[in-house]
């Protein structure tokens, strides 16, 4: 009985972590869809989200909802600027140049912000924006943080679905990820849609940053690296470029991480996740939902 309760509790925690990974993975997957690149700086936009929220809530004492909206807008703009400044000049360059630039942007953001005049490299405690309430069920307990995070994820997922499948921009995004050149011939403004994708991706990363720091209230300029890479793994697991794949991948990674920490050792969790990535890349490189793509 006790183990069942323990396992159920871990599942609840895993879903919480998985929700955050899912939100970050959505940004990766969308950018990959339109640009075919791994946006290494995505994890740092996530980190910026946490810091924006920290300053808005702690220093300027905004209410949570306003802080969330402002943060999401802020990170969306940052992601937009990153694309405009760093990635756009390389639109026709080899893929690896783009990848190295992304690594460069990521390092630049981390180390610039870790300077003492900015956020410093230290850990900062993130304030709880609301009272934590725990709801006890007989076998496990759920806090309102769990609920808040889960609902935010579901809500943003629904919004994203609406955006991608019901709006013109979404249709253009899908067209670009299908075939960029043909999409351009159909009169779609590629640059605008790519910028739009980065705006959405940045907004999601910002939201992810807030949710993550509400759940694990300690923030640091380097906090984006591991969640960023793990979310990318989640996107690959689900099949990169596929929305529901990213979400499912996020939950798988979240649950795997929590279970490895609970039953094996927390130092092994990163290893297990990358082992998972390895197995997937070898056996099913297109992910759970991916179709076989041509090899070019």
């Amino acid at each position: 009985m006790e183990t069942t309760a323990y396992i159920l509790q871990q599942i609840v925690n895993g879903i919480q972590l998985g929700s955050v990974y899912a939100i970050i993975a959505l940004g990766y997957t969308m950018v990959y869809g339109v640009l075919r690149m791994i946006n290494f700086a995505h994890g740092d936009v996530f980190m910026l989200g946490a810091f924006f929220a920290f300053y808005l809530i702690d220093k300027f004492s905004f209410p949570l909802v306003t802080a969330v909206i402002l943060t999401v807008c802020g990170t969306a703009i940052v992601a937009y600027l990153i694309e405009k400044i760093a990635y756009k000049p390389l639109r026709n360059a080899p893929k690896i140049s783009l990848l190295i630039t992304a690594v460069g942007v990521s390092l630049f953001l981390e180390y610039t912000l870790s300077l003492n005049i900015f956020f410093t490299p230290n850990y900062i405690a993130f304030p709880r924006p609301f009272e934590v309430k725990s709801y006890d069920f007989s076998l496990f307990s759920v806090t309102n943080i769990h609920i808040f995070i889960f609902l935010s994820t579901i809500l943003s997922l629904l919004l994203l679905y609406f955006l991608i499948y019901k709006t013109k921009q979404g249709k253009a995004m899908r067209a670009i990820s299908h075939d960029q050149q043909t999409a351009a011939l159909m009169g779609i403004n590629i640059d605008n849609i790519i910028s739009f994708t980065f705006l959405i991706g940045g907004a999601l990363a910002g939201l992810g940053g807030i949710l993550y720091s509400i759940a694990y209230p300690q923030i640091n300029v380097f906090m984006g690296i591991m969640p960023g890479i793990k979310s990318f793994v989640a996107a690959v697991l689900g099949g990169i470029g596929i929305i529901h794949g990213a979400v499912l991948g996020g939950f798988i990674i979240g649950l795997a991480e929590v279970f490895v920490s609970a039953f094996l050792s927390s130092t092994l969790r990163d290893g297990v996740i990358f082992l998972l990535l390895f197995i997937f890349l070898l056996l099913r490189p297109n992910g759970l939902f991916g179709k076989r793509i041509d090899k070019v």
């Binding site: 075919r36 690149m37 791994i38 760093a86 000049p89 390389l90 360059a93 080899p94 893929k95 690896i96 140049s97 783009l98 990848l99 190295i100 630039t101 690594v103 460069g104 942007v105 990521s106 390092l107 630049f108 981390e110 180390y111 610039t112 870790s114 300077l115 003492n116 690296i225 890479i229 990318f232 793994v233 690959v236 050792s265 130092t267 092994l268 990163d270 290893g271 990358f274 082992l275 990535l277 390895f278 890349l281 070898l282 490189p285 070019v296």
Partner: protein, 312 residues
């Protein structure tokens, strides 16, 4: 002509060696500086390995430091078990460490090198994290590996002669490899994999050749490193370290051996040199400037600084 060029290289190298030897003997170079010189040579060896993998063959690897670490740890373990503390017995150990790294590279390379560009990057990065996690937890296997506390009291064996001549031999071997038929195959794979395979060249095998040779070089570098600093810590072999080597290869120029040598010297020289002159607050700016430099190079001269623009 080719033979003459390498003869010239040997002459220059021996000249540099004598210069260094004299400088050390007359205490013109302090012990600290000597250590930096040796470290620079090690960085040259390891970066040369990455240049083979990435610069010549175009296989983007973000896990190079993992192979460096594998070489370092295996060398340290072997020397501790066999109680080796002199240079003569160290020579086979260097080769064995390189072979261990190369073998791991072989095992990893077979599945991973099927992937391309970003997926290869993320897979090699994943391998880097796996190795890091393994090293962090290595004290569960045997306490003397130290785990996240680090591997301590490794015998100090590495000296100028062994480092310098290992590097010289490896550079000459690499030049020979590059100038051979295989070197040509590697370059063609970089410019067009499909066309290369259509010429009847076994692309998978050639990629593996480059990868294994690169990992061998990393392992040799690791072995020398372990017995230079006598202390190993898993954090010395993480992603950031891989990025260090990547930056060197990119700055030096993809597919340029001399570029790699120059870039390694500049890199270590700048980082270690600036440490002496600049106050610590300024040192923090290092990683602000390097990424900007990287981005600018990618925009203006993606082939690297010390190579001519190749004809597309």
């Amino acid at each position: 002509m080719k033979i003459k060029a390498s003869n010239l290289l040997i002459v220059i190298a021996i000249f540099i060696y004598i210069l260094l030897k004299v400088a050390i003997a007359t205490e013109f170079i302090s012990e600290y500086l000597e250590q930096i010189v040796l470290y620079t040579i090690i960085v040259i060896i390891v970066s040369l390995g990455l240049n083979l993998i990435y610069g010549y063959t175009g296989q983007f690897s973000l896990g190079h430091a993992a192979f460096y670490g594998i070489g370092a740890y295996s060398s340290a373990i072997i020397c501790k078990i066999l109680n080796i503390e002199d240079v003569y017995h160290f020579v086979p150990i260097i080769i064995i460490s390189g072979v261990v790294s190369g073998f791991v590279g072989y095992l990893i390379g077979i599945p991973v090198l099927r992937l391309k560009d970003d997926f290869l990057a993320i897979a090699t990065l994943g391998f880097g994290v796996l190795v890091r996690v393994f090293l962090d937890n290595s004290d569960r296997i045997s306490d003397f590996l130290g785990g996240s506390r680090g591997f301590v009291s490794i015998p100090k064996i590495t000296n100028l002669e062994i480092t310098f001549f290992t590097a010289l031999i490896l550079i000459l071997l690499t030049i020979n490899l590059i100038n051979s038929r295989y070197g040509l195959f590697l370059k063609t794979i970089k410019s067009d994999e499909l066309a290369t395979s259509s010429l009847g060249i076994d692309v998978a095998k050639m990629k593996l050749l480059a990868f294994v040779s690169g990992c061998f070089l990393a392992g040799v570098g690791g072995s020398l490193y372990a017995h230079l600093y006598t202390f190993l810590h898993p954090s010395n072999f993480d992603i950031l370290k891989s990025i260090d080597f990547l930056v060197i290869v990119i700055i030096g120029g993809m597919g340029s051996i001399y570029g790699t040598v120059i870039a390694s010297i500049l890199w270590v020289g700048l980082i270690e040199g600036l440490r002496n002159f600049l106050p610590t607050e300024w040192m923090d700016f290092r990683w602000v400037i390097i990424p900007v430099l990287l981005i600018i190079i990618m925009m203006l001269k993606p082939e690297g600084l010390f190579v001519k623009r190749s004809v597309r």
